[in-house]
Symmetry: C2
Subunit: 227 residues, 2 copies
Amino acid sequence: MDKHAVILLSGGLDSTTVLAIAKDQGVKLHAISFSYGQNHCHEIDQARMIAKTFSVESHTVIELGLAAFGESALTADIPVPKHGNVDEIGQDIPVTYVPARNTIFLSYALALAEVKRANAIYIGVNALDYSGYPDCRPEYIVAFEKMANYATKAGVTGSPIQIIAPLQHLTKAEIIAQGIELGVDYSMTTSCYDPNQQNHACGGCDACLLRLRGFAENGIKDPTRYQ
Amino acid sequence: MDKHAVILLSGGLDSTTVLAIAKDQGVKLHAISFSYGQNHCHEIDQARMIAKTFSVESHTVIELGLAAFGESALTADIPVPKHGNVDEIGQDIPVTYVPARNTIFLSYALALAEVKRANAIYIGVNALDYSGYPDCRPEYIVAFEKMANYATKAGVTGSPIQIIAPLQHLTKAEIIAQGIELGVDYSMTTSCYDPNQQNHACGGCDACLLRLRGFAENGIKDPTRYQ
């Protein structure tokens, strides 16, 4: 019987690599993306293109009302912090943190998993390069999986849902190395918190700095477009 | 310092009683309601009126894309099952189950709790009259709370969030008795899965049957409008 999995797909480097990993593992792919009033809404177009490239079984785009909560540089009108280089990125919880974001994303993924009879959810969280988001920590993923199996029919009927975070302990450089081995075309992806209107990455936000260093460590030029 | 709490408010009997309980406990009330393509969308108007009656600090209404998932009598075009009397209600997971509903609701409540600096979320789930929904079980609530404290700044900075389910072990009759003691006007509430266009309850769905029995056990006539 075919195994089905739900993959959280933002259209960034990490989630695109996760999609490639899930495909390589032979599961049927159901991508889910979120439009949540983020300033970088071009991500959705990117996600659609990537989903198509990977021949997913289905791609669900959820419109979230998350902007109503304000309070984050990713949803409200607060300047995105820029750092001169990657070592200046602090360990504090950053202003780009969106309240309960991964919990809301994973909850919708869980609903979709029930509908699609999928028993795995893949998410591209990353504990090493995590920039201080509490909902990227390994212990969070474990706790979500446990909760998910109390929450759903799957948990009750004995085919438990797994939350799979294959990038969890990888550096950005290791993620990129794995994606390249799997044939990912990273020119399809950007990771910028603050791209311009032509969707060119800023090169200065935390996400850009981490990405640039990851490519540099692989001795490869980042194929995405910078301003 | 004032304590703030988020209360999930559907506009039904249970959540209105929970609002009264939270108010009685002296916390500042932030109500959150969800519009999710349910057939009974009049619930939102009811919730607004109830929130106003209780003088809440804020009331957030979230539009969900949950209808996209279909598959439930509460969001799709499947007939709501009717039972002749309350003893016919089965212990199976019913078709009115919405995939991962409480998990999605609680995730938004968690985001709002972070924004409002609330460290409690009240939810009117009920394990005895629960009609077979896996995400109403006590062990689910415990698992969600644990996950929530890994997910958020609150959990990291040491003022943990509590998920409070004050109705968890009460019968419908006990819930109604408590609400009446706190002065709840239950004519403001309906609980029906299948009301008519004038928002009159059907009297035959599981929710109506459980409610009617609860009032009968208190020797009180249910003040809501039936067809």
